[in-house]
Symmetry: C2
């Protein structure tokens, strides 16, 4: 894509009320636009990052047998009343509104209740189980504070998956598979080394069967205790004598770290399906309640976490797997021959299906182009200039390194084709 065609521009100023680092970088780069606190529009570069994350998540969910659906934002009051979760005292982040006929409706903040209701149409026998479905959907949560940029939105995209099983045993099998699938997602996003599965205290029932995925992150809202030698961490809420005893560890073996929750998985058991009347007939013809699991990944939140972690004082440093473009091609200088060579190189990259953003802007100082490239954060910067051509080619530099080197165009294309 040509930068002259991109309607966004990089910015020096950002909204005064924007205190989070991720939103500051994403706003300055033109990845997002702020509608109000916790509510962001996604611009062309931002959509490319979201789509790459979605693709990775979708592949891993489909690999464990899940099917994609899209449920609705508008929520039926009657359905949520069945489990008591319509009550604002129990769930304090509902947005509620009204149909013309006066019926109250809510905006979906999670989808256990409606998916159970829906599954009553499709699950009747043990032969219909197990079933796994997921969606990428916009959730609405009426947060009191939304100061963490895209890491905590009032409107955000989430991948939520739901599992329906005949028994706890069958459930645990899928629960373990989904844990591995989640870890695979974080690995592919470049977060593998700093993401921990932690046991979460999710209320009475889910005591033993809920986990969070916590990524080390200074701007995160959570705290975990990371074991100094062994590769595991403990959630703040259960960092107590009992847990230490279980791990045969001492308090001093752990280091307190700030973290961001990048995923969570819940065992709901049979309670919700019992409340809502979702059951199946087993092989003996007996009615049994369905065993429910729920699995969430905040897709837009992950963009924020990545921007927090992979950035320096100049801008973002996207991991290759989610970068909107792999190459940022800059043309510098006013020599016609240089411009012609840059254009030819751009065309060659397009022909080779290389994802390239081409800074073809005229009348922009080299320093400004470099600063924009650093801010936008594509993994590889390729500069073609009067000077680089004199030296025999183009200048290539990885965003996460200081040193650049000059190589020939042929050599560059050879590297890119095999990347």
């Amino acid at each position: 894509m040509r930068q002259t065609e991109l309607f966004t521009k990089t910015k020096k100023e950002i909204p005064a009320d924007e205190v989070s680092r991720n939103a500051q970088l994403l706003l300055r780069g033109g990845y997002i636009y702020k509608e109000m606190a916790g509510v962001y529009a996604w611009l062309p570069l931002g959509i490319r990052v979201i789509n790459k994350i979605k693709k990775i998540v979708a592949e891993e969910m489909e690999a464990i047998g899940s099917q994609e659906i899209i449920m609705t934002a508008l929520q039926n009051k009657e359905i949520w009343e069945k489990t008591g979760r319509w009550d604002d005292e129990k769930v304090d982040i509902w947005f509620k509104t009204m149909l013309k006929n006066g019926s109250e409706v809510g905006l979906g903040w999670s989808h256990e209740e409606p998916i159970i209701e829906m599954m009553k149409s499709y699950i009747t026998s043990y032969q219909d189980l197990p079933k796994y479905v997921h969606q990428f959907q916009t959730k609405f949560r009426n947060e009191v504070r939304a100061k963490s940029g895209v890491m905590r939105g009032r409107e955000f995209v989430m991948k939520d998956m739901y599992s329906f099983c005949v028994s706890e045993e069958a459930h645990m099998d899928f629960y373990n598979k989904s844990t591995q699938a989640y870890l695979q997602v974080y690995k592919r996003l470049g977060l593998g080394d700093i993401t921990y599965v932690t046991s979460a205290s999710g209320g009475a029932f889910t005591d033993n069967f809920s986990h969070e995925f916590q990524t080390l992150c200074e701007e995160g809202e959570d705290v975990i205790y990371v074991h100094k030698k062994d590769n595991y961490a403990v959630n703040e809420e259960i960092f107590n004598e009992k847990t230490l005893l279980k791990h045969s560890a001492n308090k001093d073996d752990f280091e307190m770290k700030k973290s961001a929750e990048v995923g969570n998985i819940f065992t709901f058991g049979t309670e919700k399906c019992e409340q809502m009347g979702l059951s199946f007939t087993d092989a003996e013809g007996k009615k049994q309640p369905v065993f429910l699991g729920s699995y969430g990944v905040g897709v837009t939140r992950l963009v924020g976490v990545l921007a927090e972690i992979f950035s320096d004082n100049k801008g973002i440093i996207w991991p290759k797997s989610v970068a909107p473009f792999q190459i940022h091609l800059l043309v510098l200088g006013t020599n016609d021959e240089t411009k012609k060579k840059a254009e030819a190189l751009y065309q060659e990259m397009i022909a080779e299906n290389i994802e390239v953003l081409f800074d073809d802007r005229d009348g922009i100082a080299p320093g400004e182009k470099f600063a924009d490239a650093d801010l936008l954060g594509m993994p590889v910067r390729v500069v073609i200039s009067d000077r680089s051509l004199e030296k025999g080619g183009i200048e290539i530099k990885n965003r996460n390194e200081q040193e650049s080197k000059v190589i020939s165009v042929d050599e560059l294309m050879k590297i890119l084709k095999h990347a």
Copy 2:
């Protein structure tokens, strides 16, 4: 995909309050699930149809230079007050709700106001123009009645595009291009022959520069007058003496037809940008208001229109361009050899990237499998059975034809590979 893996099932019964043909067919086929009137979840087969329509629309919009963004559902009251469109008297389909701090917010039913506000960050000079952006986004409209299935939703997916130009002349150039792009979309969807561009009376300003795309459809909510000989139609609202005079035609030259609005394009002029303060500096350094256009296609509505038009009393007959799968492969009979051959054929199709739904269900009567294939509506049905193998191969039938014929597996694969 294997039908045994699909969590949905075809149904004989549908919700009692569902009177529209499109929703009845889509519900029975397991394409959609009804959450409440005008609010439908999309299931795996339905998502495939939506994604194909989105791809066609995206390709045509990108071909005329538009860039994809995603704006937000939550809408800022202050922004809509600038043009007076926050007022429920003026716009009577708002859903409104409230943030925790008591601020009122709305749910986006269209996005002219927020996109103009956003563009104030990116448009300052004539050199920044023209700009075209589009999004595929969930819109919310608080309709009093929602009885037309997915053809009129309270929550639905729309492609909306906005154009920002320096002048009326530049605008009309893009407006004409977008008209052609829209016609191209309907052509690719199989609706080309029955879709008319009609001049619409869109209020005082837009009298001459707004058009609707109307598809002949018995279940449509609109009426158009189609010229009996020439290939054009006139919108009911302007079917009057003045229009007839313009066309040198008589009333009797036209036939009244029911139709569904499948798209609309509006010229907004400079008024909205003036109200909201979006201007650019021209080449002489003078401030000028930006010229706005707005272009909508109801993506989920189109699924409904297609289901209305391309169906018979047995079910849907998808055009190839939007069918969830091109082939519905049915295995009949209990012979092990038949099952083995069916499995091999399915694997071969998958290896060739042929989109195939494989009815591999055991213990289902042939009549039921045929009925399901007719209901689901894939363009080509391929049956492999003890009998077909005796006759030397598989039985192939197009959904829109009565006659089937038996051909060899080799011949089938040859046809499919070149389709």
